[in-house]
């Protein structure tokens, strides 16, 4: 009897883990771009094309991680200043987002774009901030594609912009993301 019970529990655990594995969608090379350019001044823009994102279609949770050193600028001096003086990537090497996609019915996704609200927390430079935005979501074959934009301010994350460059860097930073999730 005991052995049977053990088998039952094992079988249950196995099916459960299979179910969770099926629900997971992963993008190992998501793209996140931020831009804080001001008119007439040099472009302040960086892209990270190796952002990890995991989407759980069961719980509708989404988690993302960007290594700060992975953001590349056109101007490498700007990249150096970004890493050393602003974001302090040695002390705070990653930026993370954890959120939930409300009202998303994964089974009804098609190649037609739908807008899905997302609420979550963005953490970088050792500080957290609530982010509420909408993502454009569609499904092409086995891939769930999500794109979106939101705005953050350097001040929200205790990132100080020195006065001497303050007029060259926008107070509002535009963040754009593009994820292509594949079933794991």
């Amino acid at each position: 009897m005991k052995i049977q019970n053990t088998f039952f529990v094992l079988a249950l655990l196995l099916t459960q883990s299979l179910v969770t594995a099926q629900d997971k969608y992963v993008d190992k090379n998501g793209q996140v771009t931020f831009e804080a350019s001001e008119k007439l001044f040099e472009e302040v823009k960086a892209t990270n094309s190796s952002v990890t994102a995991i989407f759980d279609s069961g719980t509708l949770e989404i988690a993302s991680l960007a290594l700060v050193k992975g953001f590349t600028f056109k101007n490498s001096l700007m990249e150096e200043h970004f890493n050393e003086n602003y974001i302090e990537s040695e002390t705070y090497p990653k930026a993370t987002f954890k959120g939930n996609m409300k009202d998303l019915d994964v089974s009804s996704l098609s190649d037609e774009v739908i807008k899905v609200p997302v609420a979550g927390t963005l953490e970088l430079h050792g500080k957290s901030k609530e982010v509420n935005t909408e993502l454009d979501v569609k499904r092409i074959g086995d891939i769930i594609e999500m794109t979106g934009n939101f705005v953050v301010a350097p001040g929200d994350f205790d990132i100080e912009i020195p006065k001497i460059v303050a007029n060259k860097i926008a107070k509002q930073v535009q963040v754009a993301l593009h994820f292509k999730f594949q079933k794991r």
């Binding site: 992963v26 190992k28 090379n29 094309s49 190796s50 990890t52 995991i54 988690a63 993302s64 991680l65 290594l67 700060v68 050193k69 992975g70 101007n75 490498s76 001096l77 040695e90 090497p93 990653k94």
Partner: protein, 131 residues
Amino acid sequence: MKTRFKYIIVATTIVAAALAYFGYQYMFPEQRNILEEEVAFTLPPESLNEAFQAETQGLDYIDQVVQTTGKVTEFDSGWIVLDNHIQANLLPSNLDAPLSKDMEITIKGRCVGYDELLELVKVDQATIILY
């Protein structure tokens, strides 16, 4: 008097040009070329991954050029996973590289950091240097 005036003009032009040149070099330095840079660390994928679990949190490796040899455990266009420990994002010049699972390859790239979600060390601007 005239020659002296000419001399001043020529000298000023040369100095201004030099200042402009070095100023530009300072403001817009060349991008790093990882393929051309010397390798700072050569180690297996597992050791690199372990370095990020250690107390130093792999700080010594971040932003350094690393070279590593391992088995391809997963791959897609533009990226490979070696020994389930490293994800290397390849430079466009590698896109045609014939890859298959379990083949052993050596790559050289820039260590970006540790990704907790995937439990992989991420390496970018990587080049396959040996099949």
